[in-house]
Symmetry: D2
């Protein structure tokens, strides 16, 4: 077991966050397959100027406040949530994290944060311990965001994003009964709803600072998947490949940890609650930033 | 010029709506490429039960009320909005439609309409006259919906959907100052916003019934496009193919037509207003239903 | 017991809907108490032109599609939900209705429906049988809407509106698997959420038409209540009076009735689920329109 | 001219924020006017347990991040926006502030921030310099929030709140291209939309810290106004009184100031853009907290 070291790390910050990166390959210049005179843009809609696409080409820069809960579901439930190609980590069976994050993002050097209605979003995701071959990884079975550009970026990485409503308790720079202390004794909550139904809620009560962000100790594996609609081809997706997220320049703020609570609730069209919470572990609250401009493909024709 | 007849029509209803279909091929059973023990589902997230995916496998059934405006932009603007592989229709240069539709949908035989918060959405789209080889088609440069399942279904067909807020005037079964007459003299409006900015508004004042739905006289061509995130591969999309929508079992309600107004407004990250409205033509209001279970691929390795 | 006849009816339509009205009093011209040079408008914000107010002066015209469920809670729960001044109706103890309505509205003769984002809203409300003195009335303990103008109009009438998300199954003018038949066998649902939590859901399966709209057989009594914020005066509201809704020109479309289901769900800050559903009765689906331009005050200094 | 000193101040924090308070009066115990056996609660809906009301009784505690822009409209526009009882401040004619605030609130000692979907909201408001008799005050002509409880609390104080969508750039505790520096050179934006139309946008670029929050140097005067719906009484509101906001325990975080931009945009049903921006002054960004449990009534029967 190599704990990701054979995958390579682009950055390993003092806080201990594992930012996983490609194996030192320079990005190869590839001949574009786009036809001559094609419309411009990275994603749909391609257009005359290339400004209308839901997401422009990377790099994508992110910064967010995070409320996280470590949890254990049953080994059976965790295993049932893994895709082909991943296996349970026998040493941490059923172990995972639930994360609520309030993000702000920008593409490249643009000051997208000056149109905050377009550049802010909130996210909830689950990570489950798993193994790819002999490497410890984290698998993201479910994730919700409240922004379509984020949904698109997620799909391009393999994050299986759906639209949901995510909220987390905020800390402020002055004291108030209306906010917890960002320090020992402060309690922060996160909540997720979709289609008007509460799907998840978590709480953390802070006790002490810690040097690492627990949830990012393993590289994240996703499944890029884009189906075919051609009759008879529904089970023959156009894209179907395990991927490894690459986070550049990860920075971590002061990370507080303590106790935690977590609940998942059943709803039509959702399987989150099948990850039955057996117990929770550490709760934590931090701020992190990173950039994304690459993705490693682990399986399929593009693997390497 | 064949006006679509070489593409084939699965249904051609009395109202004259052209529902375009595959050329009589039975759906071929294809060997699945999914790995053994793969998670279940048609789209992301794949999951243990296959119930969590944002969209289940077709057939997808739709019914909607539609407010539409015929318009002309400049030939230059229309041409600039066409993808490689499509050319302007020289006989109708700059001609198109703006459509506001309040949809209800269901997958297969499920009564999804009993959870209306998940099965209703509103849509705005633009169609521009174009040609694929010698066939008259309609190209959809821009489309917005307010529902993530609809966004996903759109992407799988090539519709370049983004999230927006779409509203249209409703007709009711009793008289009221609060609603227009669904008949001569009644005026209906449609509006589109995204990110809190008004992007489009249209109005139609009804005068008489017509036998056809003008906007569906040509088959719709889209661009299925799913980019790569691998460094150096941003211009080498994993999927990039022109597609032809196939609408099964189209039914059309009474269609009223009359005069119209239309405005597009500029906004950051949008190019809709580059389709400058030179004049409008017929306005119309109808109800239509159809199903989708197939897609014809016009270009690329899957074409045929 | 007079069943409202001593209150007076302004209209009594063929469908049997009781539109309750003032007792023939001409509206008295009253000296305005507004100071000279006051800003203009009916409601906040008063402004230079009088166009910015959240709601302009009546008449307010409404038209809506309605899905309703007759239910019985316990007599105790129903009684506990009544304000001072109302008593249980001993003959129908615990009886009430849950209504989901998709509204379109306009003020006066304006064509507000041409800006549908501002003139449409959805509503859920509960009505409980009660008596005011010897008159049979319906009391509205809880009501949610998704529009601030509607919230304001509600408060001015005494409807205790909060913001919620309300959806109902729609019928369409053409057949589709995506919509129920508006007729025998068709099933329609309504749902309510607030703050991302499902609060109520109901279903009706239509069997036959009926001449009346069951839920409007009694005049609606509300509590107009506007608190003071002055310290020591929190329990001394500035306005606190029972009111009787007056609906002018009620029109009712074809009304279908059949069987029904209904559930209320508990949530923080809500007491809806304390109205425990013991059983349901008739379910119904209709369309109705009316106008509001007056209110009868039953108690307090303005009574009469 | 007394600059508020005859009104009294409950707190005057080091930062120079003027928290205006009642003149040392103990809150008088007042006999409640509520009928015996009345339902419980401070605001609608009154209910059996008193937990369902949209807003519980004060104290209400607030903490928020604020982006503000000082501006000048024309003296004529400012004067036209003043209610009867207020006069222009001849020394600062046309001067005002536009404020974007991301709030978190709680009632009393409850940890409402643990259900953040209910306890967070964003706000945009305008303040205009004015005089009440000889006292310098700030008048709030227009204000939008995205939360119904906040709307209700606003109305009880006289703030003329409507529902809008308000966003502001966020600062984070770690560096990122996705966020401005909270310090010299950092640029923050705020935006307001309602009904899908952009109504206002502002920007501030920080240069240096300042000791005071400019926008709170004058006590805020509002108009509590609750109309009658009785025919003939539309111009005879049940409540119509100028009020003076009382902010307890104001705390101010580090306040940065610099240059600014501001734009108001016209829209149907809005008069904000009639406050034509002639020029802007100081831009600022801060964090503040306070509590509200009292209100001074300046005019009408409850004045004193």
């Amino acid at each position: 077991m190599t704990d990701g070291s054979n995958i390579g790390r682009r950055s390993l910050i003092a806080g201990g966050v594992a930012a996983v990166a490609g194996t030192g390959l320079a990005a190869q210049a590839s001949a574009s397959t786009l036809p001559p005179n094609e419309l411009k843009g990275y994603s749909l809609p391609l257009s005359a100027k290339g400004e209308a696409n839901i997401v422009g080409a990377p790099p994508w820069n992110y910064v967010g406040d995070l409320v996280g809960v470590e949890f254990w579901t049953t080994p059976e439930a965790a295993q049932a949530a893994l895709p082909a190609g991943l296996t349970p980590d026998p040493t941490t069976s059923g172990h995972g994290y639930a994360l609520f994050i309030d993000w702000q993002f920008t593409t490249g050097d643009r000051q997208d944060y000056l149109d905050p209605v377009r550049s802010q979003y909130s996210e909830f995701l689950v990570l489950l311990d798993a193994r790819f071959q002999t490497t410890n990884v984290a698998w993201c079975p479910f994730i919700w965001v409240d922004n379509d550009a984020s949904l698109a970026r997620g799909w391009f990485q393999g994050f299986p994003k759906k639209i949901g409503q995510v909220h987390q308790t905020r800390a402020y720079a002055v004291g108030s009964k209306a906010a917890p202390v960002l320090g020992a004794g402060g309690t922060f909550a996160g909540t997720l709803s979709a289609a008007g139904r509460r799907l998840a809620e978590g709480q953390v009560t802070l006790a002490n600072t810690i040097p690492n962000l627990p949830a990012l100790s393993r590289p994240i594996v996703n499944l890029r998947h884009f189906p075919r609609l051609k009759a008879g081809q529904y089970d023959n997706p156009a894209v179907h490949e395990l991927t490894l997220s690459i986070l550049d320049g990860v920075q971590l703020g002061t990370t507080w940890a303590g106790t935690s609570k977590l609940q998942f609730f059943p709803a039509p069209g959702e399987e989150l609650a099948d990850l039955r919470i057996m117990r929770t572990g550490q709760g934590f609250r931090s701020t992190l930033s990173y950039s994304v401009s690459d993705l490693r493909i682990l399986t399929g024709p593009d693997a390497g």
